[in-house]
Amino acid sequence: MRLNRFSVFNIHADPASHSNYFNQKLNHEIFEKVAKKCYIPTNNLLLNLINEFDGKFRLSFSITGTFVEYCEQYMPSVIDSFKELFSTGAVDLIEETYFHSLSSLYDDLDEFEEQVKMHREMIKRIFNYEPRIFRNTEAIYDNRIAKKVEEMGFKGIITEGTEKILHWRSPNFLYKPINTNLKILLRNYSLSDDVGFRFSANNWPGYPLTADKYAGWMSQVEGDLVNLFMDYETFGEHQWIETGIFDFLGHLPGEVLKHEHLDFVKVSEAIDRYNAVGEIDVPWAISWADEDRDVSTWLGNDMQVACFNELKNIGRKLKETGNNDLINTWRRLQTSDHLYYVSTKGLKDGDVHAYFSHYDSPYDGFINYMNILQDLKEKVI
């Protein structure tokens, strides 16, 4: 989600300024571009594969409210195609917060709970379905979040299968949180990133990655299940069509099903089929972002923490006003992207951050975002 340029001179200059915080033109353009390169062709391919393999190819989607709003505004046919996929019965839906937010990290979890409820209502409205599995923004997870998610009635939660929490143990089993009764699905980051990050890296020993090679690797994995979770934009956007990513995906179900001991399951089927083999204790939040696998991507420097706190504190006062227009604006400002652009990690190690940012530097990202937060704050006081 992209913001408009907002300088200190714009603060308090216009009572209706909050309708101009977001760069709708740019957001629209990006959405259409990615829809054409990724969402539409990948959905079509997946639908064909489900039909071709008579429902034996099964998968799950995690879709934010923001994404659905973009679809409804800019390209309703994309939603129709997700509906069609869901109606095959081979597709599961995963719950998350309506906005791609860090509300699970606030000291009070009431805003988090409200955003999950908003998502639940959205999924109910569009798909007439109630997900049983939860996946937080960027798979952010700790004991506190697990407890809350269990209280809200979910049966399973997805997070990162990092050594930080597993130590010597394998991600290819279900676990349970130390403090509550939930099943944890852990992303096998090695096999997931083989596709998401390394697929087109020709200096990688696994290159070129073919469907039969990949299915072979999976067949050799020990454990109950392999959780492959990746950005949907992997298909056609991060990995362009020219890399052969769609050929890979097209051949994958057939190659996997050649192995007798392999099959596909939806996330809700996985937790019904398998039992937890051990407990996981996560006192400090983890995520699937960066090498650090924690929340430092969004809260790694003083600027990010200042924005995060400002945003959080505005919310308390804002909710008292009951102004739904402003509350909605505030929630869209909670999208983690805005803090991601303020990360200074990219200045040290690698260009991942820079690639996805439209600002000249994280400092420009901070100034713009903080100016907007100051403007919003002045509307509340």
Partner: protein
């Protein structure tokens, strides 16, 4: 290896980045067992070296002027004469068993070319700025350009202080890019003291350095109700007109013109400033930005400055975009976390910009021609 280096200025007597560069480079070369005879015009100060294999050789009797491109007609004549005289003297006096000649900018090029031809040894030429930069790309003077072009053509290797400058050398002077190496400048870190509420401009008050854009931004910051002082440090031909401008704008109570500062005063002002702004119209590198950053002072530089292509933890603006310049100045004064992060990340990154590494890269260039 023995080098005859021909310079124009050397600390404590210096007008700009060229002197700073020559000091840092020769000190580090000497530490790496490269013998350097550094030729420069005679000064009042009697410049000395503290190193065995670095010898400072002062040539000639003329007093030189602290500007590299004076506007005043009368000064210009005297200035050119003294540059010519200096170059002639150097060409005559440099004798010895050298492996190569290394000279800096147009001020020393004629001597460099003459010596290369006389002694039959390679010539390395460092370009710290071109006539296009010094003129701010307004009416560049052909007379300088001719000297520069001849020097660049005759040099065996050229060292440019940035990719920006390399492009100018290729595009405007028609030089083969293969003989140009880019070596970014470095800094001896200044260290920090307690900050005061000061926004600083420091540089020659010439069209190249864009001081009038600093004043325009200052006006916008003050009109926005932000209380701070602006310091314009340095001297140059725009000095009187800038004072008039500040008066016209009604901001003269908040703008302090310091005139020329001593080395110690320069260090002090870098350390106590809260924000440093370098709004240069054309800036091949911009060592002053590194100096300010090394003093823990968050810095705003022109997008096109050479330093902007090499240094990541600074803010960048188009020099003409005084709205954005004011936005960034106010943000730095208002948002502590921004100020703190830029200051600490800047000091971390500055450690990568050492004269030791500049000397290593320069030796690589030398080895390519010997």
């Amino acid at each position: 290896m023995k080098i005859a280096m021909i310079g124009w200025e050397y600390p404590p007597f210096k007008a700009g980045g060229l002197g700073t560069h020559c000091y840092g480079l020769t000190q580090s070369l000497a530490e790496k067992n490269v013998c350097v005879d550094f030729y420069m015009p005679k000064t009042k100060h009697n410049t000395n070296s503290n190193k065995n294999n670095l010898v400072i050789k002062e040539v000639g009797e003329t007093e030189i002027f602290p500007y590299d491109r004076p506007e005043d007609k009368e000064l210009v004549g005297q200035f050119f004469n003294s540059v010519y005289r200096y170059n002639d003297l150097v060409a005559e006096k440099v004798k010895g068993d050298y492996d190569l000649i290394h000279c800096h900018d147009w001020l020393t090029m004629k001597a460099g070319v003459a010596l290369k031809e006389k002694m039959g040894i390679p010539l390395v030429l460092s370009i710290h700025s071109t006539e296009y930069d010094r003129s701010g790309w307004l009416y560049p003077n052909d007379w300088f350009i001719k000297i520069e072009k001849e020097g660049m053509e005759k040099a065996d290797k050229i060292i440019a202080v940035s990719h920006f400058t390399k492009r100018v050398i290729v595009d405007k002077y028609g030089i083969n890019p293969d003989k140009i190496s880019v070596i970014h400048n470095a800094v001896y870190p200044l260290g920090e003291t307690e900050k005061q509420n000061i926004v600083l401009f420091l540089g020659r008050l010439t069209i190249q350095k864009g001081p009038e854009f600093f004043l325009k931004a200052a006006k916008k910051v003050l009109d926005h109700g932000v209380s701070t002082r602006f310091v314009v440090a340095g001297m140059g031909d725009m000095f009187p007109s800038l004072i008039d401008k500040a008066l016209d704008m009604g901001i003269s109570n908040y703008v302090i013109f310091t005139g020329l500062l001593t080395e110690e005063e320069v260090k002090h002002i870098y350390r106590i400033a809260s924000v440093y702004v370098m709004p240069s119209v054309s800036e091949p590198f911009g060592i002053t930005a590194l100096e300010a950053i090394s003093a823990g002072t968050p810095t705003i530089v022109s997008k096109t400055a050479g330093v902007a292509e090499a240094f990541r933890n600074c803010l960048q603006v188009d020099f003409w975009d005084t709205d954005e310049m004011a936005n960034k100045i106010i943000s730095l004064l208002r948002y502590d976390p921004l100020h703190k992060t830029l200051s600490s990340e800047g000091k971390r990154e500055i450690n990568l910009f050492t004269w030791d590494s500049v000397a290593d890269k320069t030796i690589n260039v030398y080895n390519g021609v010997i």
